[in-house]
């Protein structure tokens, strides 16, 4: 049985449905990320799990117990907020020990646990500081320690890294993931940053307009996006319209050029127009062998991005982006040059219509 189960969750404000038909099962010790743009309902769903919002319909079960209408302070949930939400009037140690004090734990136990948590976040020297005396990264570490101190059943993280600068964000997400693995705590992480989602999660739930678009491992989400939205939201992507030529052979026509895919065509018939996705890094410049698709076009733009050289190739109507590694030798492709682009039959991904 799953540790956290959300069944048929709906949340409406008047006529406005913020979360629709949300079903999800999370296993014990799993880290699941809700990924989506602003307003997609990911934070509202997290707040319903926390108990800060009540679903209009549906149920939430934690470890088999229905907590749908249970107050937030009785759910044994640890939450880390985007804005840290440390109590300004309390020291770091008092912040971390707050939940244990509320639970009426003995002073000695609180002191020991606070020490343990401070050691865990590698900030034992800051116990007596106030939140305003800490950097943003330190504040978020303390916030994490406070959430974990009472040993919650589930850890909820609401965009905890978005207010931090890039370098700290990367190091802190690695720390959070390592801590989560060590403690084996079931965790829900909300973010709009696809890199965070892909690098930290066991599974990713991609959300759009209040509904789940796709649930899968980071690899599944990236390599086999089901919908146009998922494909375009996660990573850089070429989206092309292809007309089915031979469904059984996976043959499609892209801008008057033939290509084949080994992926399922979702029941499409000859003549149907399908959205097709191609990752820029799956494309190579030059003609491919017999086992690869080749499209001809003209180089329209070349952008040098350091490790990657991004080339935009114009087909007849559509343009596709090709990412190639900068190998440091040789001239960059020139604008206006005729070029062939090749890719494998597995790289051409048919998308479900939205």
């Amino acid at each position: 049985m799953s540790f956290l189960t959300l069944t048929g969750i709906q949340k409406t404000y008047g006529a406005n449905a913020v979360v629709r038909d949300f079903d999800l099962s999370v296993e014990r010790g799993e880290l699941v990320t809700f990924l989506g743009p602003s307003g997609c309902g990911k934070t509202t769903t997290l707040r319903m799990i926390a108990g800060f919002e009540t679903p209009t319909e549906g149920s939430i079960l934690i470890d088999g117990h229905d907590v749908t209408n249970l107050r937030a302070n009785r759910r044994k949930i640890g939450m880390v907020f985007q804005a840290y939400a440390l109590f300004p009037n309390m020291t770091v140690a008092q912040n971390i020990g707050f939940g244990l004090k509320v639970a009426g734990r003995p002073a000695a136990e609180i002191k020991a646990r606070v020490g343990e948590m401070l050691a865990m976040i590698k900030l034992p020297q800051l116990a007596e500081r106030y939140p305003y005396q800490l950097s943003r990264g330190q504040q978020q570490r303390v916030s994490l320690a406070r959430a974990l101190a009472p040993s919650p059943q589930i850890l909820l993280l609401d965009e905890p890294l978005s207010a931090l600068d890039a370098r700290i964000r990367v190091s802190l997400r690695e720390e959070i993931r390592a801590l989560q693995r060590n403690l084996g705590i079931t965790t829900i992480f909300v973010t709009h940053d696809q890199e965070e989602a892909l690098s930290m999660s066991d599974r990713v739930v991609v959300m759009n307009e209040g509904a789940i678009e796709q649930v899968g491992t980071p690899s599944e989400i990236y390599n086999a996006p089901r919908t146009r939205f998922v494909a375009s939201f996660v990573g850089t992507l070429n989206l092309l319209d292809g007309t089915i030529v031979d469904a059984s052979a996976g043959a499609v026509d892209i801008d008057g050029q033939r290509a084949t895919t080994r992926r399922k065509l979702n029941g499409a018939k000859p003549g149907d127009v399908l959205a097709l996705a191609l990752r820029p890094e799956a494309l190579r410049l030059g003609a491919g062998g017999d086992d690869r698709n080749t499209l001809a076009g003209v180089i329209e733009d070349v952008a040098f991005l350091g490790a990657v050289v991004r080339v935009r190739v114009r087909l007849a109507r559509a343009a596709i982006i090709v990412d190639t590694f900068n190998r440091g030798a040789g001239a960059l492709p020139a604008r206006g040059e005729s070029v062939a682009v090749n890719f494998g039959a597995d790289d051409l991904i048919p998308l479900q219509p939205n």
């Binding site: 108990g51 302070n73 440390l86 109590f87 300004p88 939940g99 509320v102």
Partner: protein, 262 residues
């Protein structure tokens, strides 16, 4: 440029003189009780007076009780409005401003009519009842200052997130209010408290019409029957008000907030 600076200094000088001249004159007059020399005799007489001590003590106790009751009413109300009922903010603000619009004499006549000895709840029939009525009247009078101070302090902190953070740690509403919210709006509460104190100490209309032995009616009585003591009392009242303002500035920093400001 130079004429502009002169004009500014002239305006400052006129302003300072306008406010300080009566004060200095009053202070100077209060020192002239002894013929031919300056002395603090008027102050000594005032401090030695039993009526002064009794009325000042009465008003001080009343002010403290008023402040406690006002905090108990205003803080949860402002907190709840901020957290759950933001759409009611306008109505609540309007209500709290009413004591500024309705004259005290109208309010107290209303109280006497509602709680007089022939009413359903005859508070004025007993001493304790009258004291309670006066205290609640003062809570009403101090409401605009107390509510505004508390509300401003609440707006300066992220009430919702702090509440949710405390809830996620297992805290109930009372724990959240007393351990998380109150310490972080201390500056606002202190401002409201000292302003309320200053209002209650000098208030005349309510206390006089409810026939309570407060400091305001005592001031009026002395003012009508003595020469130098009223000036001494006026200076003392100013000193008390300024002390309150000073305490607001001194203690009003409150707990450090997330940005490090006190």
């Amino acid at each position: 440029m130079k004429s502009g600076k002169f004009g500014a200094w002239l305006a400052v000088f006129v302003g300072v003189a306008y406010f300080l001249a009566p004060l200095v004159a009053t202070f100077e007059f209060s020192l002239r009780m002894r013929r031919g020399e300056y002395s603090f005799d008027a102050y000594r007489v005032v401090f030695a007076s039993d009526s002064f001590q009794a009325s000042f003590l009465y008003s001080t106790v009343l002010a403290v009780v008023t402040i406690v009751v006002a905090i108990l009413i205003v803080v949860p109300t402002a907190y709840w409005v901020q957290l759950r009922l933001p759409r009611l903010r306008g109505i609540v603000e309007f209500t709290t401003l009413l004591p500024l619009v309705i004259p005290a004499i109208v309010l107290v006549f209303g109280y006497i009519k509602l709680y007089g000895s022939s009413s359903v709840l005859p508070l004025t029939a007993t001493t304790l009842g009258s004291d309670a009525l006066l205290m609640f009247g003062y809570v009403g009078l101090g409401l605009p200052y107390m509510y505004r101070s508390v509300e401003t302090a609440l707006r300066a902190i992220d009430v919702r997130t702090l509440t949710e953070a405390a809830e996620s740690q297992g805290a109930g509403i009372l724990t959240i209010l007393f351990r998380v919210i109150l310490p972080n709006i201390r500056s606002g509460i202190l401002s409201g408290a000292f302003l309320t104190f200053a209002i209650v100490i000098g208030e005349f209309t309510f206390a006089s019409l409810l026939d309570r032995p407060a400091f305001g009616p005592y001031l009026q009585l002395i003012g009508a029957s003595r020469a130098y003591e009223p000036s001494a009392l006026a200076i003392m009242a100013f000193a008390l008000t300024w002390a309150c303002m000073g305490l607001i500035l001194l203690l009003g920093g409150g707990a450090p907030n997330s940005t490090g400001k006190r």
